[in-house]
């Protein structure tokens, strides 16, 4: 304890302590000197002998300070020195910090996304035990359940703690300004209990609240509560009118709650069995969500639910033929589509970080070579090896810390930009991507990166510190050999950088090509100059078919009259969405055993084709006269024709949606496939029925314009509003916008851009790395070059020699990179569209670009080498 206080007092009287120590040691020396002179030594000799006997004064003082000083004092000293070193060499310091900040910044920013989507647990109780349930049918594995099937699954299963259903829903909300679209979801009574979510205000649904006699009720999302009701706690008990029915607000959901498969949803209403669809086993409109019982594995549960579905298939062959059960972990369903992209991008950022770190390490290596003399001098003046190592480690740590902190700040800034770039729809359906920020896990990740780079930066120069060679270092006589060792080491670093850059570039090239292919994929329509609006014409005025047909005709007539409009059509469902809404059909005249022929189906008006710009393969399009008074007709697409009428012309054949031969429809035309699903979805059979023969009160209006389609939207909306002020008109957009912002396009585009950005940075860093290695090697070989030229080497031969040296590195780097690119591309082939992982064109193209840039980077030092003046080079040594 007393020693601590003594240390403390020495700390504050540091100056006095030093001068006293100096005086004491000077006294010692003078005494020795005097004694030696007395014994007959010359004063000069005595002076040196006294000094020699006392020992290395600097080292002794250091050791004495070490005894009385606190540990942090030396650390502070090292830190101050390190800062001075960096300030003295701002070019080096700024480059190193900038490179590291870039690497750390991009990795951390992307990790924040990875964390939000893949690491952060979903906001439910024990989310790993939750599964989503579907019915699988021949055309796809993730289709809706019917309400009666849900009840049977719920009753028969022995594997779920609870099983509930949900479905996204769009309601028309009655407000003082008329009808407004409201995002909502329908859920069964135990839905929130299954998830383990409790309302923060009010109550959850009680069991049995879905009975037809119970009052309709709804929960509010936290956002809706804040936005619509300003967070007012009196909201409980208030009523909203949705689709004409009053719903009582019974609770508010927690802020962190979201359920991506049903988002966006402001209202979470109760699913009631009294809807039209809920009574039929053949009408599918629900998804299941269930919690596994304790101790039941995913496989056991899957097997159980499959056998139940098989049982139902036997029991109800009419409705349940080919209706199988499918089950996925809820997390896989929610983050499944972004996982490969995020992981790819994270790997890209990791590669960039590697290049950056290697780059800084090679800069440090250059520096440590040029500081060999400094280290030798400091060693001679009494710095112990440990102290020298500590100094270098401190410098590495400082560099890593400054670079890392700058990187984290950079990440924070870019996170805001990146989140702002995500389209609103995308963000709404992926709620976990909102509120991305730097949390504990991200901070830990950043810290780990900084620690790793600090280790690298400390280790690199320390590995080059050779204590036994202090004298040689002072003389700097072994320049040649050290340069040789360094060149070999530095060359390896460059090869790593080039290979990594090659992998990143190849990835970016493939993703870029995929995006191009995707955007230029044949959608079967001409997507430019199409304006879109959605219309919901509910109520008594449109309860009859004729009224709806009349409405459709009137809409087409009035909008067609607008200047700049070329064609107008309506459809029950737009292309390039989820491709859902399917039907079963069978072909008249063919034996029928209840096979399932599931295809997409749309009711479209006669103007639909011209508005979209589709291509007719055979037969004819609809006309306005294909209505209730005329025979039923249908148009099929090419895929349907190929699958069900192989080798035949479908036009002239008859099909029906019934299980008997009743209500036949005549196929009058075959169109080239229209992309109904996302751009990267497989082509699927589809049929189109005249709107006038099957009119819906809910449809989209498509308008082909001659002028800018976006600017036409207001006048089209005004026309529709003038036609019927009560009719809901919403979601104005353009087809090009829709394609541009479609989720699949977005995912492809963002991954292409981000990996592309990373690759460009990698290219720049790789070029800098190569440049610095070659330039340094040239500077170390100035004398050698001078000798060569003095002996008659041509300038061209000298620059050729340097370029040759660089070319070997480039070739090796690119070759390793090429070898690594194919497995890397195979790992991300899920993200590729229309491009194989080994696409030679891309690989050769990027290899060429990389080689060109690398040669350019080595040309500059080569030219400098060639311009060496032999006389000066020799004299300089």
């Amino acid at each position: 304890m007393s020693s601590f206080f003594r240390k403390l007092s020495i700390l504050f009287g540091r100056k006095r302590f030093r001068s006293e120590l100096d005086e004491e040691m000077a006294f010692h020396r003078t005494q020795t000197e005097a004694e030696l002179v007395d014994s007959g030594m010359s004063p000069e000799q005595a002076h040196f002998e006294a000094m020699r006997r006392l020992g290395n004064e600097g080292l002794l003082k250091e050791r004495t300070h070490g005894v009385v000083g606190f540990r942090f004092e030396t650390t502070l000293q090292d830190l101050r020195f390190a800062l001075r070193q960096l300030r003295k060499n701002p070019g080096f310091a700024l480059t190193a910090i900038a490179i590291l900040a870039l690497g750390v910044g991009s990795s951390v920013a992307i990790f924040a996304f990875v964390d939000a989507a893949l690491i952060k647990p979903l906001p439910y109780q024990d989310p790993a035990r939750l599964v989503e349930l579907f019915e699988a049918i021949p055309i796809g594995p993730e289709f809706h359940l019917s309400y009666p099937d849900y009840l049977d699954w719920k009753r028969e299963n022995k594997v779920f703690h609870s099983l509930n259903v949900f479905a996204p829903e769009g309601f028309m909300e009655k407000t003082v300004d008329g009808l407004r679209e409201a995002d909502a979801a329908r859920v069964s009574d135990g839905f929130f209990k299954t998830l383990g979510v409790t309302p923060i205000l009010g109550r959850d649904f009680y069991y049995g609240e879905d009975r037809p006699e119970a009052a309709r009720s709804t929960l509010l999302s936290y956002k809706a509560w804040q936005r619509r009701y300003a967070g007012n706690r009196n909201v409980i008990g208030q009523t909203v009118t949705l689709d004409g029915h009053p719903y009582v607000i019974i609770g508010v959901l927690p802020k962190e709650f979201s359920f991506a498969p049903a988002e966006p949803a402001d209202f979470w209403t109760i699913e009631r069995p009294d809807g039209g669809c809920e009574k039929s086993r053949g009408c599918h409109n629900l998804f299941g969500v269930a919690r596994l019982k304790d101790g039941v594995s995913f496989e056991t549960a899957f097997a159980d639910i499959k056998s139940i579905a098989q049982q139902l298939e036997k029991q109800y062959p009419d409705s349940n033929r080919d209706q199988w059960a499918n089950m996925l972990p809820l997390t896989a369903k929610i983050v499944g589509d972004v996982r490969p992209i995020l992981l790819t991008i994270l790997c890209g950022a990791g590669l960039l970080l590697i290049i950056g770190a290697v780059n800084v390490a090679s800069l440090l290596l250059v520096r440590s070579e040029s500081r060999r003399r400094e280290m030798a001098v400091r060693g001679a003046l009494g710095a112990s090896p440990r102290r020298l190592v500590r100094q270098l480690v401190t410098e590495g740590l400082l560099l890593a810390a400054v670079g890392g902190i700058t990187g984290v700040v950079l990440a924070q800034l870019s996170l805001r930009t990146l989140t702002a770039l995500i389209p609103k729809d995308m963000l709404m359906s992926r709620p976990y991507l909102q509120n991305i920020g730097l949390n504990g896990r991200v901070a830990l990740f950043a810290l780990a990166l900084v620690a790793l780079s600090a280790m690298l930066f400390a280790f690199t120069p320390v590995s080059r510190l050779r204590f036994t060679r202090i004298r040689e270092g002072l003389a700097d006589g072994d320049r040649g050999s050290a340069g040789m060792v360094w060149r070999r080491f530095g060359a390896n670093l460059v090869v790593i950088e080039l290979a990594t850059a090659m992998i990143l570039l190849a990835g970016a090239g493939l993703l870029g090509k995929s995006l191009y292919r995707l955007l230029h994929a044949d959608t079967g329509i001409q997507s430019d100059h199409i304006a879109i609006l959605r219309v919901d014409a509910q109520g008594d005025r449109y309860s009859k078919d004729e009224q709806r047909v009349a409405l459709g005709r009137e809409i087409v007539r009035q909008i067609s009259a607008l200047p700049g409009v070329k064609a107008v059509g309506v459809t029950s469902k737009l292309p390039i969405e989820d491709g859902d809404v399917t039907t079963d059909f069978h072909i008249i005249g063919r034996p029928y055993h209840g096979e399932h022929h599931e295809v997409a189906w749309r009711t479209v008006s006669s103007g639909y084709w011209a508005a979209l710009g589709t291509r007719l393969l055979s037969g004819r399009y609809f006309t306005d006269r294909d209505d209730a008074a005329s025979p039923k007709v249908v148009i099929v697409n090419q895929t349907l024709a190929r699958e069900y009428f192989p080798g035949e012309d479908p036009v002239g054949k008859q099909i029906t949606l019934e299980s008997t031969d009743k209500n036949p429809m005549l196929i009058v035309g075959e169109v080239f496939d229209i992309q109904e699903g996302q751009l990267d979805a497989k082509a699927r059979g589809a049929m189109y029925i005249p709107y006038n023969q099957n009119a819906y009160p809910y449809f989209s209006v498509l308008v082909r314009t001659t002028q800018d389609e976006g600017s036409m939207l207001p006048s089209i909306a005004a026309t529709l509003h003038g036609l019927d002020p009560v009719m809901a008109i919403f979601d104005p957009e353009t087809m090009s916008h829709k394609i541009h912002d479609a989720p699949s396009t977005y995912l492809h585009r963002s991954s292409a851009w981000i990996v592309g950005g990373l690759a460009v940075m990698a290219l720049v860093l790789g070029a800098i790395g190569l440049y610095s290695v070659i330039a340094y090697s040239v500077s170390r070989r100035t004398r050698e070059i001078g000798v060569r030229m003095a002996l008659g080497a041509e300038r061209a031969a000298v620059s050729g020699m340097v370029i040759g040296e660089a070319s070997r590195l480039i070739v090796v780097g690119i070759a390793i990179g090429l070898a690594g690119s194919v497995p890397a591309a195979l790992a991300m082939r899920g993200l590729l569209f229309g491009v194989p992982a080994w696409d030679a064109q891309t690989l050769i193209g990027v290899a060429f670009v990389l080689a060109l840039i690398a040669l350019l980077a080595s040309y500059l030092p080569a030219r400098r080498a060639a311009s060496v003046s032999p006389a000066e080079a020799l004299r300089a040594e």
Binding site: S3, R6, E24, F27, L54, G55, L60, V67
Partner: protein
């Protein structure tokens, strides 16, 4: 010049403390004293006295004060404290035990 044996590690503190039992001395005096008493067999690297002295000061085993020498120069004199005397006792007995043990091992080796 024949190389003189190095000081056994850890014994410098003990020697300094022992030297100071007679009278307060300055650093140079301590070095001289050790050399003389050991009849020139033990030479400390003279400078290493100073870190050692600081260590002893820190432990409170010696005290230091500035005084004038016979030749009228300012020098730092070190005095043994009571704690230092006690510590010396401990170190001497530990050292003797060790020497004894080493001796036993050596004599046994010779007999064999």
């Amino acid at each position: 010049m024949a190389k003189k044996p190095d000081l056994l590690p850890g014994t410098l503190d003990m020697l300094i403390l022992k030297t100071l039992t007679r009278a307060p001395l300055h650093g140079y005096g301590i070095a001289q004293s050790i050399k003389r008493l050991s009849e020139d067999v033990l030479t400390v690297e003279e400078g290493s006295l100073y870190p050692a002295l600081q260590r002893l000061l820190l432990q409170g085993w010696v005290k230091a004060e500035w005084k004038m020498t016979d030749t009228n120069r300012r020098a730092r004199y070190y005095t043994l404290t009571a704690a230092g005397r006690k510590q010396l006792g401990i170190e001497v007995s530990q050292f003797e035990q060790m020497i004894e043990a080493i001796g036993r091992v050596l004599s046994d080796a010779q007999e064999a």
